[in-house]
Symmetry: C2
């Protein structure tokens, strides 16, 4: 069994109150793949430029991620993003985005990537997401992320793409924007009418909530004293969640399994933000992930004793 992810592979320049990095490995597919690598074989699909080299690929390969479908475009430049975070880390400002090789990207998947058991369509143009979805017909679970840009510029295509997956994973502000519903329960119901049985709202420092046919589930973010760099937290969360599903091919895709997957996503996201870029997750150990999941269980458990 394996997970295929399509999304951005990038260089990021990030400044936060805790420091800055001028050019570090990033991108939604990279953050997702490193997180999901704790659970299953992962294949990354996406383009890079000539400026992307062995040291960057090695970070993925050391975690066992297949880079066979990372397409090096001759003469091209790797996707570049520059952003700065303010005092409370909730608001970030994008200072520069250079699409580079992404401007002309047409996903061509190898047979191995097409044959994936689980598929994650990270945040890229929704028509590209649909092209990939159409190539991976055997996936038993497909999830999708997106962003405000596509809600504003390619809404119809995005709604169509959402209709072709099992799970939408989106920031809660974007869920509101997409559905016009300020209320999460109503927004999720609307999305579920479009197709996906599972809707996950990423709520940043407040954690994440999930709505399935069986009901509502929510977890807080794992509490940290210092959040160094939130970049990629959402993709690490998705990597933990989707990876956990991939690691359980013989179990039915139940609400209960997805709740456990939410906990793994939450744990992975918390490690991601402890250092810049992929620095922390690249050297993370599986035992550390499990420990944090157990801690999360303690931090949310209570005895529901009835009154009187």
């Amino acid at each position: 069994m394996s997970v295929t992810v399509v999304g951005s592979i990038a260089f990021d320049a990030v400044k936060t109150p805790f420091g800055e990095r001028e050019r570090m490995l990033g991108g939604s597919a990279v953050h997702f793949a490193l997180a999901a690598s704790f659970f299953d074989e992962v294949r990354v699909v996406g383009p890079v430029g000539e400026d992307f080299g062995e040291p960057e690929l090695a970070v993925l390969r050391e975690r066992g991620v297949s880079t066979d479908d990372v397409e090096a475009v001759p003469g091209g430049r790797t996707f570049f993003w520059r952003g700065v975070y303010g005092w409370d880390l909730n608001d970030r400002e994008t200072l520069d985005t250079q699409l580079g090789v992404f401007a002309e990207f047409e996903p061509r998947l190898s047979d191995a990537s097409r044959d994936c058991d689980v598929l994650f369509l990270a945040n890229i143009q929704p028509d590209l997401q649909r092209q990939v979805r159409a190539q991976c017909r055997r996936a038993r679970f497909a999830a999708l992320d997106s962003m405000n840009l596509w809600i504003e510029t390619a809404r119809d295509s995005l709604v169509a793409a959402i209709g072709e997956v099992d799970c939408l994973i989106l920031n809660d502000a974007e869920l509101r924007q997409l559905t016009g519903e300020p209320n999460l329960v109503r927004a999720a119901r609307r999305i579920r009418e479009w197709g996906p049985g599972v809707v996950v709202a990423k709520q940043g420092e407040y954690g994440a909530a999930m709505i399935t046919e069986e009901g509502f589930f929510a977890l807080p973010a794992y509490p940290l004293e210092t959040v160094v760099d939130p970049t990629g937290a959402g993709d690490s969360f998705a990597g933990g969640l989707v990876g956990y599903v991939a690691a359980h091919p013989d179990e039915p895709l139940s609400h209960e399994l997805l709740c456990q997957a939410m906990a793994y996503g939450t744990a992975l996201a918390s490690f991601n933000v402890e250092e810049f870029g992929v620095e922390r997750v690249a050297r993370l150990r599986a035992e550390e992930v499990s420990e944090r999941v157990v801690e999360l269980g303690r931090m949310t458990a209570f005895s529901a004793l009835p009154l009187g």
Copy 2:
């Protein structure tokens, strides 16, 4: 055993996307008292004007709340607040505040109110909170709420008042403002250095988080399809939490007990927002509260299975 609460007793004019009320019973002490009335005997301390009548007192008395220390000021006008909520109910605008009898309020507690086992200092001027705290020397648990106005205009007095209680219950934005710490874990540590062993951050639609000596606990808000009027949600939450503590005088004030109390606070807050003002909580039944707490338990439970 009993709970004493000091805070505002008010008439509220509220407009939300779901309707409006021109003049309804409200105020922090009222919302708190109705919620706490499910757990223990509650005594309300606070002033009202000549415009406050039997119908309003009856709402409290029907829930068994003692109004003996509700002081009717001859010739006075009851505290009045007018506010409007926008599309997403998270932001509210205050259109009018008339202090009325609160401008000259000096808390005078009856012996019964002074002898309380548990004390809640709802959001009023911190010097008044300190006067009441000083009168209730036997309380084994005292909690305090406040707001941005007092952080801005009476910070030293507020910090002193916080130093005299066991538990601070505050909106998370106000916790940040008060401590200058954007990070909740750090903000709570700062507050705990001032005195209170327990810090609770109210996070609105995202629920609430608590930090004690034993660690972190968090719960999402109970998911609702329709939130009609958020006014008083925070005070209902505090009423559930503090009331639950009051209902367990023979148990040590443990982290575990407080986690259960957080669940009851969350349940009470969710009922409060289902209708305008106190309309829903005034006719609430204890069984409904317990049912929602059990549901909350299901909505946050997962099996923390380690990897591999």
